[in-house]
């Protein structure tokens, strides 16, 4: 079977003419316009589908707003008052007839004690023409609509109408209610085999009436006594296929309403012999007749219209009459009278049930059916704006409070960490403790400052840099300052002060700043030759002399070391071969930086010898600068090239080179005692005279043997040919 559900996804109050899909072959003379219209209908469907998909995939669904609105809905009784309103539902199968008699008997019944607030009028077989079926022509509905409006007593306005071939549903409301109606929408669902038995299906209109949601379905189900299961299936198909799509892309089905009404020619019959039915009608024995009614038995067994109710029937079957008479079908077919035309309702579990005012048939004789109507009292929820505003604000406030309370919180033992005095190559560690003082797990991490990539200055280490704490848990963070050859330049040469601010960030919460400070003891280690010759005084606590004043020819610290070894250790066996003692070397370094004499401390000559090597190693740039490294390697095979290379060294570097080579030659002259060989010295000193920049790829790996030899060769030339200098 063909299922041509087309949803009206716009919240419009205009009737959208609906074009049923044309599936017939073209032999039937369907116009091009009709086909185009059908294609439009298809397009519309496609559009709608993609729109829905887009919406469900939207990652930015505002869940907060959604949550608040759900809560608001839960608290509805706190800000609404209930008021009784009445709804009139009428249904009439007009058998393709045009309006010819006044509708007053149906719509303006003098027995009606109150004027309904809402009228919902449904027709079936309004139009049995091929045009309606194939072209979606809805012109036939206009005279009926005009006819209805002229019959309504009082000030009514049309809210919405919707048509599917012969099935038309119109909703009218009292003008005063119109501003309080929102989200009025309609949809249709077709069932049955088109063109064979006339189109069957349903039309639905939904709206919010004040704060109460109402949905009305007018349907025409399949005919004939035997088609009970078919009708049950029609009902389920219509119920499933009718959908309303709200502005924000949410889909509402028919059951998601406070009050759901289902009217129409449901076509259920009475499976008794014709004569028996007619006898009972004559005796007004409607009760026993009703017990045989197919709709009643189907509903009772739960086979259709589950959860729906129907007001008690106390009127004769409304089908089938000889049109214009009070006689039931006298044709050859002699159709057995039946209650085809019905009004059912279903109230949501969360809403208050309706009150039945009336359920009646009306003696209009145009058609082979009699019209039927039911009136109900509905408790309409009306919003008290001030109360709603208050409830809304309370919800929002509560949410804010919960959100703020659920943010992590921590205390930190100190926001200032003063490392005081920091010495070269001497790590100092301070600890701070953070404690989770919030209600939730706190995840923390140090984050870099804006537009920076590192968490902190290179001389500082943080451990750990991230972690988590359960409530009340404490974690100790270790901050370590360690200034090495690479990082000392900032303080020794550039005169930077030692401080930093760390940002400790709690996930979903606040940031803590931790200020780091320290005083770096300036040192001749990790310095530059160029800088050191500008210190005639001890480097610690002094500033360099202005660059236009006379500089030293070599760093005085170098002179002090060499001078000491010259007078105290040149004959020492294992000089430059044996290791020094770390503690002693720290003392020596202190003396060099402070200008204190070596006589105040005790140390072995090997500590002084190693200090010389460490000093040279720590230079920010070695004696042979980085930019001459490759040239130096290339020159190493030829003494003359080496001589040329050295002659191009910067002045201070040249002085130092000259001075140290001279010293090493002097040391070699005592090789009887100190057992040193030129090869040994060349290897040891070449590694500190000559090294690749730490930024260059060569520095990433230990040098190859061939490189080591080239470096040593360069020094060796000078140690063995005294006239090279």
């Amino acid at each position: 079977m063909s299922d041509t559900t087309t949803n009206n996804n716009s919240n419009s109050s205009v009737t959208t003419p609906v074009t049923p899909l044309v599936l017939e072959d073209e032999n039937r003379g369907v116009s091009d316009e009709a086909i185009e219209a059908s294609l439009d209908g298809l397009k519309h469907n496609t559009l709608k589908t993609s729109y829905t998909v887009l919406n469900t995939n939207n990652p930015h669904i505002d869940v907060n707003t959604q949550w608040i609105h759900n809560k608001l809905k839960e608290k509805e009784p706190e800000y609404t008052e209930k008021k009784n309103m009445s709804i009139f539902l009428g249904t009439w199968n007009v058998n393709g007839k045009k309006p010819s008699e006044p509708l007053d008997l149906w719509l303006k019944d003098p027995q009606m004690t109150i004027q309904p607030d809402i009228y919902a009028i449904g027709f079936q077989e309004l139009d049995l023409t091929a045009e309606a079926l194939l072209l979606g022509d809805t012109t036939r509905s206009l005279p009926w609509e005009q006819h209805i409006l002229s019959s309504l007593q009082g000030d009514y306005v049309k809210l919405l109408s919707r048509q599917l071939v012969g099935i038309l549903l119109c909703v009218y409301v009292k003008r005063e209610h119109k501003p309080h109606i929102t989200n009025a929408m309609s949809d249709i669902a077709a069932v049955g085999i088109m063109g064979m038995m006339g189109n069957k299906g349903g039309v639905a209109i939904r709206f919010s009436f004040y704060n109460t949601t109402i949905c009305i379905i007018n349907s025409h189900l399949n005919a004939h006594l035997d088609n009970v299961l078919r009708r049950n299936q029609d009902m389920r198909d219509i119920a499933k296929n009718i959908k309303f799509i709200t502005d924000d892309g949410k889909t509402i089905n028919i059951y998601e309403h406070d009050q759901l009404f289902w009217i129409g020619d449901l076509n259920y019959r009475i499976p008794l012999p014709d004569q028996e039915v007619k006898d009972r009608i004559k005796k007004k024995d409607f009760y026993n007749l009703f017990l045989q009614d197919q709709l009643y038995t189907q509903m009772k067994s739960g086979s259709a219209f589950e959860g729906f109710q129907e007001p008690p029937i106390s009127f004769a079957p409304t089908y089938k009459y000889d049109a214009g008479t009070d006689e039931y079908d006298s044709s050859e077919k002699k159709r057995t009278p039946a209650w085809c035309d019905r009004v059912l309702w279903k109230t949501a579990k969360t809403a208050e049930n309706v009150g039945i005012l009336s359920y009646r048939r009306h003696e209009l004789m145009t058609s082979d059916h009699r019209p039927v109507s039911a009136s109900f009292i509905i408790k309409i929820k009306i919003v008290i704006p001030e109360a709603k505003s208050r409830v809304y604000q309370d919800i929002v406030k509560e949410l804010d409070k919960k959100e703020n309370d659920s943010m992590p919180d921590a205390s930190i033992s100190s926001n200032m960490v003063d490392f005081e005095e920091i010495k070269f190559m001497t790590p100092v560690t301070r600890q701070i403790v953070i404690e989770n003082i919030g209600q939730v797990i706190a995840r923390f991490q140090f984050i870099p400052k804006l537009d920076e990539t590192s968490l902190c200055k290179p001389w500082l280490k943080i451990s750990p840099i991230a972690g988590m704490m359960i409530p009340k848990e404490k974690i100790m963070l270790e901050l370590t300052i360690y200034v090495d050859n690479l990082t000392s330049q900032a303080f020794n040469v550039n005169g930077e002060s030692m401080d930093d601010i760390l940002i400790l960030h709690l996930e979903n919460g606040k940031d803590y700043f931790i200020s780091i400070s320290g005083v770096f003891q300036k040192t001749c280690f990790g310095n530059t030759l160029e800088n050191l010759v500008r210190y005639p005084h001890p480097i610690r606590n002094n500033i360099p002399i202005p660059s236009d004043q006379k500089k030293l020819s070599i760093p005085k610290e170098l002179w002090r070391i060499v001078d000491y070894i010259y007078y105290n250790g040149l004959k020492e066996e294992g000089l430059f071969i044996e290791s020094g003692v770390t503690k002693e070397m720290e003392l020596i370094r202190d003396c060099l930086d402070s200008g204190e004499p070596f006589t105040n401390i005790t140390f072995s000559i090997h500590s002084m010898a190693e200090t010389l090597i460490r000093f040279l190693e720590s230079l920010v740039e070695p004696v042979i600068p980085f930019n001459m490294y490759q040239q130096a390697l290339d020159a190493s095979s030829s003494p003359v090239s080496c001589k040329t290379l050295v002659s191009h060294l910067p002045a201070v570097n040249y002085n130092v080179f000259f001075y140290l080579i001279s010293f090493l030659i002097e040391a070699l002259s005592h090789n009887q005692e100190n057992k040193l060989s030129p090869d040994q010295l060349a290897i040891i000193f070449s590694t500190v005279f000559l090294r690749p920049s730490p930024l260059s790829p060569q520095s990433q790996y230990p040098p190859e043997a061939a490189i080591v030899k080239k470096r040593a060769d360069l020094i060796l030339h000078f140690l063995i040919s005294k006239d090279l200098l």
Binding site: L72, Y392, Q393, K510
Partner: protein, 202 residues
Amino acid sequence: MNNNNKIFQFKLVLLGEAAVGKSSLVLRFVRGHFLDYQESTIGAAFLAQTVCLNDTTVKFEIWDTAGQERYHTLAPMYYRGAQAAIVVYDIRSEDSFERAIKWVKELQRQGSPNIVIALAGNKLDLAAKRKVETAEAQQYAEENGLLFMETSAKTAQNVNELFVEIAKKLPKTPTTRPGSGRLPITPIDNNAAKKKTCCNGN
């Protein structure tokens, strides 16, 4: 339908000299209380608070920053991407007013292009010791297109009003992105952290 509206979310930052009452204003607005001794903020505190207007709802993500000058260079982390700022001074201190003006200039130069700035002269409960005249601040605010109010976090005077005025002035465009402006935790290496993802996707 009244109130059945979308929630617009905005990032708001408080700036101003130390001890002018930034944290107190936030606490008064969010928690509704006041502490005589409010610890100084060393870092940046984060809180959320919603303001209901007649036709819209505005949710503020509030960043309360450290006022001490030594942390000045870190402030852009917090005002970057902020759609609103409250620059606070103490009506008893000319210096704090001068500092506020500097903050306003910095925001106008480096803040978000359409940032809504409010100037708040706090500690109105101590008006007896006033040094900054209302008219002077009012004039400055008008000349620079700022909202202006004198407030007291202690008595709550004008505190809600200040936030409501800001909420009203903020543009309610559909592009206002819902969702948190807070920083996500991302794995980073020591000394080689990834660039910080700052609020509102900057």
